[in-house]
Amino acid sequence: MSFGESAARPSHGWLWLWYDARARSALLQILFVAGFAALAVAAFVDVRAHMQARGIPTDFSFLGNVAGFDINQSLIPYSAASSYGRAFLVGLLNTCLVGALGLTFATIIGFSVGLARLSKNWIVARCAMAYVEGLRNVPLLLQLLFWYNAVLKPLPAPRQSFELPFGVFLNNRGLFVPEPVSQPGALWVAIAALVSVVAAIGLRWLSIRRKFASPRAAFFSGVAAAFVVVLPIAAFVGAGSPITFVRPELQGFNFSGGVRLLPEFVALVLGLSLYTAAFIAEIVRAGVEAVPRGQREAAAALGLTAAQASRLVVRPQAMRLIVPLLTSQYLNLIKNSSLAVFIGYPDLVQVFAGTVLNQTGAAVQVIFITMAVYLLISLAASLAMNLYGRRFALRER
């Protein structure tokens, strides 16, 4: 090979740079990087000139300026006199809130529907399939607009609102739910709950570590469950019921007391969870179906009951396939929560890449920050996924 190349190399000039494979690849890369850098610098200079000509800020100092607009849902104190930086935080927290609730509901619904699709019961499997096909083939934006404009907005005014169980009310102003209020002794209940959860995890760890046989393991699980249930209840009663719920009450034309969830928020959580659940259901089904039949049969041959086979043999193998795909669906849900901007829920994109960008004109910085937030979330998730993959990878001999 080298003989052939050196023979083909012309004896004079710079042309050998092109005929030598390594020199050529180095040359190409240098050209590529130089071209890329030149383009980037040119774009930077050009954009800077444009922005300065239009009086747009070119650094990040605008984040300290007074925002001057209101946000109708905020988890931290915020007013029109707060800074743009604070508005960013409000949007970020609202995104996190929608993401956390959406992930919880999507997981619950998705696993239920996925298992229903695997049901031997023909009609249950069909209904689950109709759910999956119906929801995942329709754009999420359309579903959000439907829930917001066609379902939640035309609801009656507070006086004629729907009364749901547990003191929950639904009307065109949103969903009103009871608000938990803690009295002085509440700290004890929280401590008791924490202690019981830690104790339960410890017991479970011990039982796995010692490789207890089935009856003893079951006994340990029973003790752990009893801990989780009994201890907080005992603390609750002992401290004299320190947590009370304030129910929303109709006063005049609106409700007072309780927590008000904006219709935009309800529509977003509803749409996101139902849509993502359809995808999670498919992942769950595929994961369970990918476990070979022989595994279940072998479990039966060992004398395990059907429930034990599901719990001890099928589930661990299915989860190994399900979890990585589930993570990418979770990331999709968080990215899709940016559709909030279409129905006016104040999430990160609506507040920051929408209002703040329009007011300041600092497009480059604002979009850079917004993208960086989503990228960081994605990076963190894929890092966690790698750790999981390393921990649960098949160890083959």
């Binding site: 083939n137 754009p139 940016s338 917004t370 994605s378």
Partner: protein, 375 residues
Amino acid sequence: MAAAIYVRRTGAAPREAPPPTQSLAGRLRASLFDGWRASLLTIAVLALLALLLPPLLRFLIFDAVWSAPNGELCRAPGAGACWAFIARKLPYFTYGSYPVPERWRVDVVMALGAVLIVWLLWLDAARRRIAAVLFFGVYPPVSFALLYGAPSIGLPRVDSDLWGGILVSLLVAVVGIVVSMPLGILLALGRRSALPALSIASAGFIEIVRGVPMITVLFMANTMLPLFLPENLAPDRLARPLIGVALFASAYMAEVVRGGLRAIPRGQYEGAAALGFGFWRSLRLIILPQALRHVIPGIVNTFIGLFKDTTLVAIVGIFDFLRTVDAARLDPIWAGPTISTTGYVFAAMFYFVFCFAMSRYSLYVERRLSRGRGH
């Protein structure tokens, strides 16, 4: 001793015949009423369906208003879906504000596209390579000339501000497909390249785009492209989101193609080299045909996602199909309690038909390919 020996003298009673599993009744019993828990579940689901389906059917079909000059009939109490509204607004949903005398041009573009796509997707069709060349090479400039107009051949200019409806939705999807396919292949090759500069740049682009929501990419294309480029070169209002969508789809396509490239055994590369093929030639004739065939389902799934994501271009003020529906439901002539639902149901049916057909097609291809491999 002899008493301990048992000899059976009469045959055992015949076992009962197993429940019929072949007949419909037998299968139904085995699947729906196998034990009290299954029976209870079945009854609960049936009750739920009995509760939900009749009102749904009444709304969509029996109580629906099928023809009306305006929203008067649809506003009557108890009226169902207002299909008359859809019928009246259908031209707007299809063409947006495209001038009426020029709408035949849109029809021609859509018909051409439909013929080419069927030709391309029908696996037994003759000369699919020609279809590919036509679809990826000839169709885009011809459509552009027809839609945008070319005064030199007697087609008056139609500004892209007037385009809308299904035309724009399909346009965004087709541009996304036509650009993301070659660009995705290039990015996938770049990411697998032995040149570190190229592979880092490709991987960086792919991961960044896949890590952010599409809306931020659209925002970026809309607000930052005019800042990057000089005033006279600034792309028009419709072109900016098109660029954003195309780049976004390319990153996802690149990952699908990369999966296909990874599935090609080394021997194929070596075989190509042994035949004396260069890099591009072996890619074109040996590697890509196999790699792409492997990942047809993934490619189609990317297209489905892309088609659903075309709805997001509305955020930068483009009147795509969903946006025209959303705008039309506020028309005071028609406005009424059922109009929003009618519009959204119609739009949902439109998207469902396209996406469901695509997913069935990918299943069909998958099954056919696995049959070809001798399973």
